[in-house]
Amino acid sequence: MAMADQPAGKSFRLSMLLYDTRYRSITIQVIMLTLFVIGVWWLINNMYTNLAIANKAPDFGFLWNPSGYDINQHMIDYSSQSTNARAWLVGLLNTLLVAFLGCILATVLGVFIGVLRLSKNWIISRLMTVYIETFRNVPVLLWILFANSIFIDTLPQPKTFRGENATSHMLWDAFAFTNRGFYIPKPTFGEGYLPVLIVFALSIVAIFIFRKWAYKRQEATGEILPVFWIGVGLFFIPAIVTQLVMGSPIGLEYPALKGFNFKGGFHLRNSLISLWLALSLYTAAFIAEAVRAGIMAINKGQSEAAAALGLRQNRVMSLVVLPQALRVIIPPLISQYLNLTKNSSLAIAVGYMDLTGTLGGITLNQTGRALECILLLMLTYLAISLTISMVMNIYNNSVKLKER
């Protein structure tokens, strides 16, 4: 203590770095940081040296060579002559697709189940408890495999749809559910489809304007318009009328059995559907718990006050409780979205060609560039996760309590 009283810099001695409490923590931190940097540098250097000895110094040139393999589900043009980098992109898009679909379904299911778990109806709340406990306590890989085996073993083969005495039939001649996936109609755009699309876009804009106007009117006069039904009407009627007036330019292409498989329409592969369902059902169980926690965090007085104002039960939930609960729900929701996205890397178990299946699977295998592929893979997942959490944080900031 006596040393601390001395004016600093007057007589600085080297030993003060260790014995003077003003400098000691800095000294320790500098030493630790130096050791840490040296340690990391040594590890990386060691890796490079040993790889160089094994004639495998890191080289990313393989990314521009033809991949040589085919991918069944590709959202952009891809063939076996495309580069490994393009295969990586195809895998990335497949990962994003399943993550996007999964997050939406998981949120819808999760909110629904979380609210129902708080239901006063004994059977419903118990059923939801059973759902949550079963789904979140079994590894997600097993759910994925389970969903896939159900699709493969219980749905009919395409060939059973064939011939006079077919044992399986298409639903409304438009949907075929087979053990190779679901075949659904695909829209086709004929001559003069543009006006229909424009009218459709305009009607969506109109819905938003109408809603805003309706709320303003409600605030001014207290009258409540049937916003939902008018919105539905606006959504369908103008577009359908234009479609009929223009002579049905937008048609549907139906799947039909040709050769070995169904041709035409969209093909939703079993791998995508089973991965999507399993990830959503699994994550929904966690989201449901977050939603329940969020709702329970809202003071009972809030809903009682809302009820005293004469709001009906569903309006209390949607206008008073859920908006406040969102503040509690969103942070854990972000981590559930991240979990879902990262869990989608189990896709190869059912043969879904995601990032791990293309870059981290076949490309890695065929080129033997394990280190490079895994590094790129980690960086890609990191980038996806950081993007998701950035977007969700922006949303979180918009709903959180504004302190004035």
Binding site: I38, W42, N45, N46, T49, N50, I53, A54, N55, K56, G68, Y69, D70, I71, N72, S79, S80, Q81, S149, I152, D153, Q157, K159, N179, R180, K258, G259, F260, N261, K263, N270, S271, I348, A349, G351, M353, G357, G361, I362, L364, N365, Q366, T367, G368, A370
Partner: protein, 339 residues
């Protein structure tokens, strides 16, 4: 000063790592057990039998090497490896050698740092389908759904074959042979493709093998053989010449039953004498004793005996010798001389 010390350490570690990998023979002898990478289960080539003992054509190569080096054909630790991890496992030293239906290709040999020591089965990629599919040839497969094991050369051959024939297909990538069977049997894919020998082995495990046919087309060359890490010549020599000893034994009529008798005293054929150690010291040049080849042959028999016992026509796999007959009988199996 500090930096040079650090560099020195790294260099030392590098040299140590190099030294460790350079003496696989010493490692194997010190451990008393040969770590051999095999397939995760392919009847006839590598699969545990009812008692959990690994059996098969590839397994026999591991046993022969263990018998030659350690004197005990059971001193083998079998490490089942998926096609995806096999090269990493070998390169990282997790296994000492790989005998796992692995195709010898340019890029694997040159780029992946592996050394193929020979060919123990000349194979080619084929297709299997249910007979009631009504397809007789691979050229009629336009639009078919095809199950394929990822991480193998078959994946690339398939893409090439369909592209060059102007046909389309739907690949269903699968991780292991067991999953491929499940998907194929439930009809989730029309066709299963892999090496023709693998198809025959897989079909042998089906409940009704007669309902399935293997198509006549062979769309690729797949020379399968054992391999080791690059950069350890003494060790690759041992594995290479153990395989060659098995083949030469068939050529010279040395069998499991008569090998001990022939090795007891020098006979008329100098090559047999050199092989079995009654003349010269070929074993010593390999760093082994004179009896190494005798033990390798006694472990399971010569090449022909191993073939007949594991994958031959009288086994459920039912493969004929075909390309894998000795060169003297119109096949491709040939070895350099023991001299």
């Amino acid at each position: 000063m500090k930096k040079s010390l650090l560099l020195g350490t790294i260099a030392a570690v590098g040299v140590l790592a190099g030294a460790a990998s350079a003496a696989t023979l010493d490692d194997v002898k010190a451990n008393g057990v040969l770590k051999c990478g095999v397939s995760t289960g392919l009847v006839g080539f590598a699969a545990p039998d009812a008692n959990g003992r690994w059996e098969g054509f590839d397994v026999a190569v591991c046993r022969a090497v263990a018998a030659a080096v350690l004197g005990d054909s059971d001193a083998v630790q079998f490490v089942p490896l998926s096609s995806k991890v096999r090269f990493t496992a070998l390169n990282s030293g997790e296994v000492d050698m790989l005998a796992r239906n692995t195709t010898w290709t340019f890029s694997r040999d040159v780029d992946l740092g592996l050394t193929f020591v020979g060919v123990n089965y000349y194979d080619g990629q084929g297709f299997m389908a249910r007979k009631d599919l009504g397809v007789g040839s691979a050229t009629e497969l336009d639009g078919a759904t095809i199950c394929i094991q990822t991480g193998t050369t078959t994946e690339l051959n398939l893409a090439d074959y369909f592209r060059s024939n102007g046909m389309s297909y739907e690949p269903v990538p699968i991780e292991t042979n067991a999953e491929a069977q499940q998907q194929f049997l439930s009809g989730a894919c029309d066709v299963l493709t892999t090496d023709a020998s693998g198809l025959a082995a897989t079909r042998a495990t089906f409940e009704h093998p007669e309902d399935f046919m293997i198509m006549p087309e062979i769309i690729s060359k797949e020379p399968l053989g054992p391999l080791v890490r690059e950069g350890d010549e003494p060790w690759s020599d041992i594995v290479r010449w153990t395989l060659n000893a098995l083949i030469t034994a068939e050529e010279k009529g040395i069998t499991k039953d008569n090998v001990e008798q022939m090795a007891a005293a020098a006979g008329n054929d100098p090559e047999i004498n050199r092989l079995l150690g009654t003349e010269g010291d070929l074993g010593g040049m390999l760093g082994l004793d004179k009896q190494w080849a005798m033990r390798a042959i006694a472990a399971g028999g010569n090449y022909g005996e191993l073939f007949e016992a594991n994958v031959g026509e009288n086994t459920p796999v039912g493969l004929s010798r075909g390309l894998n007959a000795l060169w003297t009988q119109g096949g491709l199996i040939y070895t350099p001389p023991f001299r």
